[in-house]
Amino acid sequence: MRFYEYESKALFRRHGMPLGEGQIVNSTAEARAAAEAIGGPIVVKSQVLSGGRMKAGAVQFADTPDEAAAKYDFVLPIEVGGETARSVLVEAKSPVAHEYFVSVTWDGRRKLPVLLFSDMGGIDIEEVAETHPEHLSRTHFSTILPLSERIAKEAISSVGVSGGDLNRLVPIVYRLMQVFLQYDLTLAEINPVAKLEDGSFIVLDGHVDMEAEARGDHKKLLAELGIGEDETRQARPPTEFELEGARLNAVDHRGVAGNVVEFDGNLGLIIGAGGGSLTLFDAVRKHGGKPANYCEIGGNPSVGKACNLTKLILGKPGVEKIAVMMNVVSNTRVDIVARGVIKGCLEAGKDPSKVITIFRIPGAWEDEGFKILEKYGVEYCDRSVSMYEAAGRAVAKL
């Protein structure tokens, strides 16, 4: 779950990291007023979640309040990775002497957080890693020993930074590590940390990602930063269809019949579980099928949940038929899913035997499930028909 730059900076500011003067604005008049209040040269930055703002022209410079206002109007409609500005950040333009890069993330192989530091900030760090590896340090640190400034010192000094610069950088980097652990972040990055001409250091640009699983533990922070509970902050905002899927999945706590993602095909998919859904979605596409959605069933959802999911998918414009498929299930009851799906078809005014192309959920309680399907004339199969083959049968019926 990604934070906008202004949210990341608000978080940094709370933790005593040095930042330039700036204001978030939502109108031309506000942009002009902010520039007046700051006085002097200004940076006008579009607030988007995607990278590549500078290249897209969504970061602009201005010398006067009138110019800042004009630049506000200029950056507002610019698309960055298909996304336009949520709001605009107006900041003082600082006289920069040198730029540094610092980032904290997880290393899934070492299973530890890793601190990346470079004295070649402001540019793409992948490029630094490739062309100037000696200018990038990677320092892993413990999650059970008390966090200490030593780690920051080692990371910074190992690319050759010493003297006053080292001692001024240590507290900034140390605080970034603290913020990373305290708020269950998956990424905390400042690029660049700038040394200004007067020798002081400030955070010029930064961003953080919070782990979705940890949102519940940080409700207070998220509310204070103005991040809504319904904001998923994925690569694209959720559609109405997806939000409705999440709402229906939350009606009771038994199992999952949700995680709906919208696509624009004609075959509705009621599939599961986590790995099974990925496998089946691929299989449908491999057969030339056009999925209307992705979803996941698992953990033995109630009849009501399976019914609601079925109705949601059948009600999606363009959906002609549905396929109900899972891997061999361990703890999801086949008969309960069968009952839910058939109930959903009937409540949507559809004939289950016509609208369900195939039902392939083998496993616990399958005999009971198959009896129900037989009664309604739905084509079903057991584990002797592979997931791939079942997907093929579904696609062939369209």
Binding site: R109, K111, P113, D282, V329, S330, N331, Y388
Partner: protein, 302 residues
Amino acid sequence: MSIFITKDTTFIIQGITGREAVNLTRENLDYGAKIIGGVTPGRRGRDVYGVPVYDSVKQIAEAHGTPDGSIVSVPPRFTRDAVFEALENGIKLIVVVTENIPRGQVAQMVELANLRGARIIGPNCLGIISPDEAKMGGMGGPAANTRQAYTKGPVGVMSRSGGMTTEIASTLTAAGLGQSTCVSIGGDAIVGTTYAELMPYFEADSETKAIAIYSEPGGRMEAELAEWVKAHNSRLPIVAFMAGRFMDEMKGMRFGHAGTIVEGKEDTTSEKIERMEAAGISVAERIEEIPDLLRKRMTEAS
């Protein structure tokens, strides 16, 4: 033989009175597990299908001796504490079933486990099964269903998906290929034990003749496995199945498990397939191709 568990392995269930844990207890007992106790604070003196419930791991260890393993099935906010409790009481094999644990806490569990010389499987997994020996976790569901899908034999299975472990085992069984041990390693971005970390155990197990893996987008686990295979000149042929190929074009979107997201190029299925094939791992397009590929590779190897 098998890896990690045998008929004689003793274990406990932390959170034993929870709805899912009660089912796990039944299913594992029916499959022959030696569950010597369960923990739910405040419930000492009760029992779950005859398994005595205690307030702490320490009480179980005092009453019955230190168990070999523990299944942790407690809500996410209590999981780290439960795992620490198991580790500090000398338990060396911990299966963490719980999902939705922030990775910072998973990292802490793994770090302490490393210090204590213990191994964590999971989180967000269905555990371990060695067919006809024992099972420790939810793999395969009720014992009757488990026996239908899993049979004893030469194939070791490692999977990032619990459900797909059963699908693969069931496919192998139908083709007459049994399994030595199947490990559901968990679907999170950080897991206690990766493919590469399991390989030395399978290498050392004379019963295991080949490996099947289920894999997904996200993370570096497949790259790590490819490196391990190259560096160790492994005797075991490996066949991998890669799901979620459609995700290569959907950067930043999370599907399936928590660890399943394409952020950089290395997370894509195409890059993972390339790395694995370069290390001599066969990559199947469909699940049903796995048995034939394994047979072919085992014949070549022998």
